[in-house]
């Protein structure tokens, strides 16, 4: 066992110990007076989200938007370093990058044509 890791192990044990201890302590010493509100999830006294219209489901539109954002986000993650090193990389990398952007746009075209961008 290499010595440098021993403190880490101690820290780990300490962390676990503290967590276990606090839960246990509150279990023992805490008052237990339940009421309806406290038995709710999160026991914060506030009703969870009321039933959404149309059978308790959240519209999928938010997710679509979020996913589109992520797709373009990732694309820019690749574009940034490419832009920085563009000079060194040469034609090969440029072609690769164009191909990459094209594939993303294929997906974008699909989303656009199939109504993924219409809010209603």
């Amino acid at each position: 066992m290499s010595a440098p890791y021993v403190p880490v192990l101690f820290m780990l044990a300490l962390g676990f110990g503290f967590a276990a201890l606090s839960v246990f302590t509150s279990l023992v010493v805490g008052p237990k007076r339940y009421n309806r509100a406290k038995l709710e999830a999160y026991e914060c006294g506030i009703q969870p989200t009321p039933q959404a219209a149309g059978g308790g489901r959240v519209p999928i539109k938010y997710y679509l938007t979020a996913m589109l954002f992520i797709v373009f986000d990732i694309e820019s993650v690749f574009l940034y370093p490419f832009a920085v090193a563009f000079n060194k990389l040469g034609l090969f990398a440029l072609v690769e990058m164009v191909l990459f952007i094209l594939t993303v746009f294929v997906a974008y075209a699909y989303v656009w044509r199939r109504g993924g961008l219409d809010w209603d």
């Binding site: 149309g54 059978g55 489901r57 999928i60 090193a85 060194k88 990389l89 040469g90 090969f92 990398a93 594939t103 294929v106 997906a107 075209a109 699909y110 656009w112 044509r113 199939r114």
Partner: protein, 530 residues
């Protein structure tokens, strides 16, 4: 263990002819997405089917050409350290798997394209995004909408599967794993009937798949920590370099990486998703998954076991031995009480995965060729079997309960006879491919696996004896039982499905009678490049 960064950008060596099959499949998938975007609805099905089949056939031709371009590609040799950093290994096992996947993919797609002569009776939902039972769903069904996206999705999955046994590093393997998995998650959720079951299956598959991917990544990280590289060549070298002495990282890392792959083949204890997903997914997709995912994942397992972690085999082989034993026993025993055809085939596929693992554990070239042979033999049989399941209907939906198959031998002798033959193949009766395949893996294991191999084979023999009971029960049920009621009907399949089922069955027979050509091919293709 400092990370070696390339001094300057070095352009990757890419042998385009060697990777052409992959490019064709992925390119066709992208075209398929564009078709979805721009082609009018009523023509999509035909066009998509044409593109898919044509591209797969083309890819097969390209694979034949690629056999002359074997070697490492998609990377570069580091000048300073002369390390070979290549992401893809185009070699015998990879090309063999690619060829098999493409051909099985064609059959799978033909069965998926089955529409029974009219719009609205295919296997896929009209509108995947609608709530089951909602007005939107009803409206889309009335409008005759179809989910022709299944074709590009399947092509993406096939592309990922072709990549899976080809990749030469852990990160590439992870990407291939995800590329093949994500389309499958979606495909599993698209059943036309019993949609809630299908969506549940999809979600479970996704959650557990993500869970296993996490293990795979964790293992990759540990192995990177151990070897300072994710390339298989470096891994192998690092293990033989005994001065490192970080066995804790190696053992845990190797096993966790295996977990990610064993999950895909449905090995116990990572099998729990299999029956639920096989049952819930649209049946053509189940057949495709059972054949192709398993084949691709075993290709990847082979490469990992024989190239990346070969020198460390004594570190992880015990773990895989335990998994193989568990897989065979649990698969065989649990299949006994199944009452649903799809679940029965799911457990049978688990047991088969166990038998293949026995071949993997032979640690020998013969092990490689026997595994290659087994997955192909099994793949063609299982595609045909699930193809048959799609035909047997009651009240419009598939009749998957075993009691609904009772007496099918009298009313539909051809269908029942074909199914019975495939069951015999799964049982490993001589003159079917199943027998030769089992014999090949068991012989490999017993030949070079030593005492462990022998024990594994004995367990395997006992388990296959148990599964024989299961298959025999189905046959008995079809031929010797009175039908439960008369409303079970068998639809007349289109040319495509008929072709797929016939080819699958014929290959099952042919590989049982004249297995030599494929065994030879597998044998010649069993050499990995490093």
């Amino acid at each position: 263990m400092t990370a070696v960064a390339p001094a300057a950008f070095q352009q990757a060596n890419i042998d385009y002819l060697a990777v052409l099959p992959l490019l064709i499949v992925f390119g066709a998938a992208l075209v398929g997405v564009l078709v979805e975007a721009f082609v009018p609805r009523e023509r999509r099905h035909t066009i998509q089917l044409t593109i898919s089949v044509a591209s797969l056939v083309l890819a097969f031709v390209a694979i034949l050409f690629a056999t002359k371009h074997q070697g490492l590609t998609f990377g570069y040799t580091d000048g300073a350290t002369s390390r070979r950093l290549f992401a893809l290994a185009i070699d015998g096992p990879a090309l063999f798997m690619q060829g098999a996947l493409v051909l099985m993919g064609v059959l799978g797609i033909l069965i998926m394209a089955e529409r029974f002569g009219g719009v609205g009776s295919d296997a896929f939902t009209a509108s995947g995004a609608s709530t089951p039972g909602s007005p939107i769903e009803a409206a889309s069904a009335r409008a005759g909408l179809i989910t022709s996206e299944v074709f590009p999705l399947t092509l993406f999955a096939i592309g990922g599967m072709m990549l899976f046994p080809t990749v030469n590093d852990l990160i590439g393997m992870f990407i291939a794993l995800e590329v093949l998995s994500l389309p499958l998650y979606i495909l599993s959720g698209l059943a036309r009937r019993r949609r809630l079951l299908s969506q549940e299956a999809s979600l479970k598959y996704f959650l557990l798949g993500a869970f296993s991917s996490a293990f795979f990544l964790f293992g990759t990280a540990l192995l990177y920590g151990y070897a300072g590289s994710v390339y298989f060549g470096d891994l192998s070298k690092a293990v033989s370099d005994t001065s490192l002495g970080l066995n804790g990282l190696l053992v845990a890392g190797a096993f966790l990486v295996f977990v990610g792959l064993l999950f895909k083949v449905g090995a116990v204890p990572f099998h729990a998703w299999t029956p639920d997903v096989y049952q819930g997914a649209p049946t053509p997709v189940t057949g495709f998954m059972a054949a192709c995912t398993k084949a691709a994942a075993f290709g990847a397992i082979l490469r990992l076991a024989y190239v990346g972690l070969d020198t460390a085999s004594w570190q992880w082989q015990n773990a895989v031995i335990i998994v193989a034993v568990l897989t065979m026993i649990v698969g065989a025993v649990l299949s006994v009480t199944q009452t649903d055809m799809k679940r029965l085939l799911a457990y049978s596929s688990i047991a088969h995965a166990g038998f293949v693992l026995v071949g993997v554990l032979a640690f020998d070239q013969r092990g490689v060729s026997s595994v290659l042979f087994y997955v192909v033999a099994y793949g063609f049989s299982i595609i045909a079997a699930f193809g048959l399941v799609t035909l047997v209907r009651q009240d419009g939906g598939e009749a998957t309960h075993l009691s609904q198959w009772a007496g099918l031998g009298k009313s539909h002798p051809v269908i029942a006879g074909t199914m019975a033959f495939l069951m015999l193949a799964f049982a490993g009766i001589p003159l079917t491919s199943g027998f030769v395949a089992k014999f090949a893996v068991f012989a490999a294991a017993i030949g070079t696996g030593g005492a462990t191999g022998t024990v594994l084979v004995v367990i395997g023999a006992v388990c296959s004896a148990i599964t024989v009971f299961v298959y025999a029960r189905v046959i008995v049920l079809m031929f010797f039982s009175e039908p439960a009621d008369d409303t079970v009907e068998v639809l007349v399949p289109s040319v495509g499905t008929t072709f797929a089922i016939a080819i699958g069955t014929l290959i099952t027979f042919a590989l049982g009678v004249v297995p030599s050509s494929l065994l030879d091919l597998a044998d010649r293709a069993s050499q990995f490049v490093r």
